[in-house]
Each structure stands twice: as C-alpha cells, then as structure tokens.
C-alpha cells in the first residue's frame, strides 16, 4: 500500500457537490501533479461533513485544518502554501465573526466543538465507497459480535437496555419493536430501512446514507439477526441519487465480501437486502404506507392493528427502522448499553442528529447529546441569527407534523418529552430557525399546503380536513379571515387529530395549533386588523418610512420595483401608497430599519394598474 503523508478529505455530499466540490477537486489534483505532490498527498472524497452552508469544505489531515468555501481560483495558492510550504492557508479558514480571526482546526469551530459524533462517527472521515475504510473504523465488528456471540434475545436486551428509541419521529423504543417482530412466527420476516426522508428541512438520513452507508447496512444485519429475518429492503427516495449510488456500492461490496448473503462471516446466519426507490410521496414515510409502496401499490397507510411486527410487508412480520436509528446500532452493540447511556437523559438516551436550517448562521448537520438545551444548539452551534440585526422568533421542529417553539421556551433541553410539551415534536430532527421577519400564519399555511398536498386521500379527516384548514389559512392571509376562525381551526384540528387514520393526519394540525398557541396575536391581527406585521402577507400590510430614522440614502428607492418611493437625497423619503405593491423590497433593503410595517390601507388600485400599463 502506498503511503501518504497527508489526506485531504473533501466533502462530496449533495450540498458540497452542488457548491462545486468536483471542480475544486480536479483543480487540486492538477495542482498537486504540477507540484509533484501527487504521491504524497491523497484526496479522499467523503460523505456529507454536515457544514453544508460553508461548502465546498475540506479537512486536511494530519493537521486537521478545516477549509471552507473553496474555489478553483484559490487552489494554486492553497496547494503552494499548505501542501508545499506547510503554511496553512488562512484565507480559506472559517472565520469567527465576532473576533474576526480564522479558526484553523475543525474542532475549534463552535459548530463542531459542541458536537458528539456517534451516528455521524464516520462522517467526513472515511471514503463511503471504501468498505476497507469502514472496517478500519471497527466496521462490521458489531455485526460479527452479534452474529457469533449473541442470541437474538441478547441483541434485543442490549438495545432495550441502551434505551435506543426510533429516530424517525415518534421515538418508539427500538428494542421493543424488534422484540415484537422477533416473537412473531412466520416463514419469512422483513428487516426494512426507511430512507424516505420526507420532512422538509431534515436531511440527516441522506447525509448518513451518503457518508456512511455501511453503518446502515450493519445496523440492518444486526436487526435482522434479532428478529430472524433473511430479507431486507432499504427504501430510499428517488430524489437522493447519490445516496442510492453509495448504498448500492456498499451492498455490492458486502455481497462480494460475504457480509451479505448466505452464512455471513461463517456464522451460519443469512441475510440479504435490496434497495427500493420511492417514487415521491411523503406519506410513504409512514410505515404501513411504505410497505404498500414496496408492494407496488399506492402508498396508502393501513389501519393498525394489525401491526407490522405481525403483518407488515406482504403480510409478513416486518420491522421498519429509520436510517439514523440503524446507524446507532453497531456502536451500541460493540460498546454496550452503558456506553450508549453515557449521553442523554434517562428517557431520551444517546445522541441525536439535527438539521439546522433557516435564518441561522451555521446551516448544517449537527449531532448533540440528547438533552442539550435548544439554546446551545441555536446559538453556540448554530451561531445565532444569520442576520445579526434580526431577533430570533421561533424554531420549527418536527416538520409538517411538528410545531413552532417560541423564544420564551428556548431554554428547554431537547428530549422527546420536553419537545412534545411545547406542542412540537422531535420528528426526524429538522430545526428550521426563523427570525422576526417570519409570519407565523404564513408558516402554518406553508405546512398545511404541504400536508394537504401530501395527504394520500384515504381517510376523510386528513383528506378533506387539511384542505379545509388550508383554505381557511389562505383566507386569513389574504384578508378574508372571519371572526371565529381561530376557534374553528382549533376545534377542527382536534377532531382531525383524534380521527385520522395515520400519523400524517394525526399530526397535520400541529403547526396550526402550536402557532395559535404561541402567536395568537398574529392570527388576531391578521383577522381583525388585517395586519401582518412582518409584511409577508402582502394583502395585509402597508409600508411607511419613519422620517426620523431615514437618512435619505436612497437605497430603498432604488430597490423599489414600482418607483413608489420618492424623496430627495439625504432627506427622508416617503412611499406613495397607491403605487406600493407591498413587495417588501424596501424593507429588506433598508440598512437603518426605518421602514415600518402597518396594517393594510385602502388604496386606489387603479394606480398600480395604470403604472403597469405604462411599462
């Protein structure tokens, strides 16, 4: 084997690839050859590093220097400085905004510093297409242990003792799920993996499948042994081509090495699995719907009971685990339940991966111990608001099934129990941070649009109910809200939650209920005063310039597409209301926060029409 003195671990996750990894990689390769370093320095493409917003990112070993926002133009300089002369190249390092200095080491960057990597243990550290590199990191040792030294009961006990809970949403104890299926008697059982990550704003499963596909496969082998299954299916969204490719490659390698197939590792246990591509239906994240989809039917959920542990795929006992859950299995088996419980709380043990997105500075994937305060995640890891001038308003957790947690609850520790109390849910771990410019009614409407669109249509409350609620929210955001709408929405929400067939319908009203709970004033303002104070609902606002703040810089006037802003240079400007179309451009543009948003005003609509015609 060739020896390299340095490894460049370039992130080849979807995010970084989209930001230019392939081009940068080619440039580095070329430059290394130019400098004669190609035999000393090895480039490894890894899965998602997690710090997606800073991509393309690269980690240089052995020094552990973290480079971000790489560009082709900077490559010659980088290679010359760092790899030839050994002077880490400060220009491409992460900068701490407050202190204005570069942070060379990855683990000194706050985004990484507060994380503990279990699920993401191999992220950015191994080549996901190399089974050897996975094995080097203790890969398949847990499977070896489970297959040769442990009985199904031992495995189930270990997982139960560890307190592993499903990371897909509801947090059902994984060991218990396995136990049910293990006890079912059948000629065939199925071990299934849910890679149909659907919550908008969550991408940890994609990341794991891309960065560490073997960890999922190993988890499935162990689970298969626990329940007595010889066949597995990984159901992956077709929208994740890279994940599919990496998984397929990993499966092929496993088959070739005998880690899948008959008599794995000489243990006498046989298990094989295949990938099944989802075809784009959010509801297929629901386990019974996913099974219907694998059966080639419309992905419509089935009533439970019978539970999948008794009658699942093809009416055979089946276990469906989420990607993140499965990725935790191997280290837990290898290190034991106690190790697992070192992190987290009594009821929510271990760590959890979150996808931080929205109006936050450090967008990306983070893994923290359960029980970490929300505040730590948002401010210490996430770096606070992207726009420092804007205040934090709310964080949405749990996607369309979840809710919005307001600022006053930001100190809660993130555990299944504590999050549920707020009206949100842990969900798969999407955290969408919203600043004060976010209209909460519109946010609720966004989620309802999603659920109404993704409702399979099988049960009445979800099919019609989500549509009715969406219509009501649309009315409210467009100025047709009526007295009593809030109460009707709450009432209907409760009925839908109680009567819907599956989790989609049972949770679809959550975004409405939680926004009403914490931001009722916004609903009231929308309905009664016809006022959206964020200016997002263009029918419910008007913009005005406060003369005492305006510096007359003219930026707003230049931004206005209607030419509705007038004023002399260096003197306060004003907005011609009849022309204003409430596009919010001036508000976004003003550096002095001199634009104020007020309730909708009566205006002569012909003015805009006339103006449009002139153009």
């Amino acid at each position: 084997m060739e020896k390299y003195r340095a490894n460049l671990l370039m992130c080849a996750g979807t995010g970084c690839v989209a930001s230019g990894t392939p081009k940068v990689r080619a440039a580095i390769e070329e430059e290394l050859i130019k400098k004669g370093l190609e035999n000393e320095i090895k480039i490894v493409l890894t899965g998602c590093n997690g710090f997606c917003a800073e991509g393309p990112v690269m980690l240089v070993y052995p020094e552990e220097i973290f480079y971000q926002k790489l560009t082709v133009a900077e490559v010659p300089k980088l290679v010359e400085e760092h790899f030839l002369k050994g002077r880490p190249y400060e220009k491409l390092m992460f900068k701490d905004i407050e202190k204005r200095h570069a942070i060379p080491l990855m683990n000194d960057i706050p985004f990484f510093k507060h994380q503990v990597l279990r699920v993401l243990r191999n992220k950015g550290l191994i080549d996901p297409d190399s089974i050897d590199e996975y094995i080097a990191r203790d890969g398949y040792m847990a499977a070896a242990k489970a297959l040769t030294e442990m009985s199904p009961e031992d495995i189930i006990k270990a997982i139960k003792d560890a307190g592993v809970r499903g990371r897909g949403g509801a947090g059902f104890p994984t060991g218990l799920k396995w136990e049910f299926a293990s006890k079912s008697v059948a000629d065939q059982k199925y071990m299934l993996c849910n890679g149909d990550e659907g919550d908008p704003g969550a991408f940890m499963d994609r990341s794991v499948m891309e960065a560490d596909p073997h960890s999922v496969i190993e988890g499935m082998i162990i689970g298969a042994k626990a329940i007595g299954s010889s066949k597995g299916v990984i159901y992956v969204r077709a929208e994740y081509p890279l994940a599919v490719q990496r998984l397929q490659n990993a499966i092929d390698d496993c088959r070739e090495r005998g880690l899948l197939g008959n008599d794995i590792l000489g243990s006498g246990f046989s298990f094989d699995l295949e990938i099944y591509l989802g075809a784009g239906a959010f509801v297929c994240g629901e386990e019974t719907a996913l099974m219907r989809s694998i059966e080639g039917q419309r992905g419509m959920p089935r009533p439970r009971p019978p539970f999948p542990a008794h009658k699942g795929l093809w009416d055979k006992p089946s276990v469906l685990n989420n990607v993140e859950t499965l990725a935790q299995i191997a280290p837990t088996i290898l290190n034991g339940p106690e190790w697992y419980r070192q992190l987290g709380t009594e009821k929510s043990a271990g760590s959890k991966v979150f996808a931080l997105t929205g109006d936050i500075r450090n967008v990306g994937l983070v893994e923290v111990p359960m029980g970490t305060p929300l505040k730590t995640i948002i401010y210490d890891i996430g770096g606070g608001m992207k726009n420092k001038k804007k205040k934090f308003k709310s964080v949405q957790m749990g996607g369309p099934s979840g809710g919005c947690i307001p600022e006053e609850l930001i100190d809660i520790p993130v555990t299944y129990e504590d999050v549920v109390k707020t009206g949100a849910i842990m969900g798969s771990g999407g955290m969408v941070v919203m600043d004060e410019d976010t209209c909460m009614v519109s946010t609720a409407k966004f989620f309802l649009e999603f659920t109404a669109d993704e409702s399979c249509g099988k049960c009445t409350p979800c099919r019609v109910g989500t549509r009715v609620m969406l219509d009501m929210l649309t009315d409210i955001t467009e100025g047709r809200g009526r007295e009593g709408d809030i109460e009707t929405l709450q009432d209907l929400s409760n009925d839908i939650i109680a009567t819907s067939l599956c989790g989609l319908g049972q949770t679809a009203p959550n975004p409405i209920l939680s926004t009403i709970r914490y931001f009722k004033d916004e609903y009231e303002a929308h309905i009664h005063q016809k006022w959206c104070k964020t200016g997002i609902c263009s029918d419910l606002c008007s913009f005005e310039i406060s003369e005492d703040v305006c510096t007359g810089c003219g930026a707003c006037a230049r931004a206005c597409p209607q030419g509705a802003i007038v004023g002399e240079k260096k003197k306060p400007h004003s907005i011609i209301q009849d022309l204003c179309i409430q596009c919010r451009s001036c508000y976004d543009r003003c550096a002095f926060q001199s634009i104020k948003i007020g309730p909708a005003k009566e205006k002569d609509k012909t003015a805009v029409a006339v103006k449009d015609q002139e153009e």
């Binding site: 997606c52 908008p200 994609r206 994740y240 591509l277 959010f282 419509m300 994937l365 969408v432 993704e454």
Partner: protein, 149 residues
C-alpha cells in the same frame, strides 16, 4: 423503445411488487408515462390499467406529461420556503412564461416543484436535470437559465 420496455417487463415479470420499479425504468426510457406505455406495463405485469394508472397518479415522481429537454425542479421544503424560494420560482415562471407542470413552447424547459431535496444547507435550491443550484436568488435565475439555452 418498446423493445426496451418489454425487456424491463420481462426482467420483473412474476416478481411481486414490481410495478413501481418497472414504471421508473419506463419513465427513464420514454421520459414520461403516457397511457399507451402504462397499458403495456399493466398487461405485462398481469394487472389492470386502472391499477397502474392509480399508482402512477399517486406518486409525484411519475409524470404523464412529457418534460422539456431540461427539467427544472424547485425545492419547496421548509428551509427553502423560509429563504423565500417562492420568489425564485415566480421569477423562473416569469422568465419561461410557463407554470409549474408545464413545458415551454420550444420544449426546452419544464418546471416541477418537489418536496425537500435534502440540500437544505444550500436553500433555496433548484435542480436542473442533475445539476443542483444552491443559494438561489431571483437575480441569479436568468444567468442560470442562460447556461442551458
């Protein structure tokens, strides 16, 4: 093309639950799934055309309309929503003068919206063919589209 489809059907024939993979392959081959193709699949898999059509119509991945040479997929996930992907979308619609689900007159572009692409870190995101464009703004729309014309 029909031979290729026949090969796909033969490959999956008799394998339970194969309608979705077969349809996916057919869509790759033909580009979309017109009724004639669905009928061939139904016959080949010993099921009814209504059953196949109901499956096709359920999943957003399947389309019964031909796409443009370049298919633009706009992510409508939460992160993209929060980052106002709507504005990017409407700019694209304005630019191409078509609505979501339509094809431009010259058959060059079609627009689709998709649920989360899982590239939230780059929000707002759009994908043209296989290429992902992150941190989109309405301003960037014309230059990105120009790459394809």
């Amino acid at each position: 093309m029909l031979q290729e489809i026949d090969r796909v059907i033969q490959q999956y024939k008799g394998k339970p639950g194969s309608s979705i993979p077969v349809l996916q392959r057919c869509q790759e081959i033909v580009g979309y799934l017109p009724p004639e193709i669905q009928k061939i699949v139904a016959r080949g898999l010993k099921t009814s055309a209504a059953e196949i059509h109901s499956v096709v119509s359920f999943y957003s991945f399947f389309t019964m309309k031909p796409r443009g040479d370049h298919n633009i997929r706009i992510c409508l996930g939460t992160a993209c929503y929060v980052k106002r992907v709507e504005e990017v979308l409407s700019k694209i619609k304005d630019n191409l003068k078509i609505d979501v689900g339509e094809v431009t007159e010259d058959k060059k572009f079609s627009i689709e919206t998709v649920r989360c692409l899982g590239a939230c870190g780059l929000a707002p995101v759009m994908v043209i063919d296989e290429e992902t464009y992150g941190a989109m703004t309405p301003k960037k729309v014309p230059e990105v589209l120009a790459e394809y014309s």
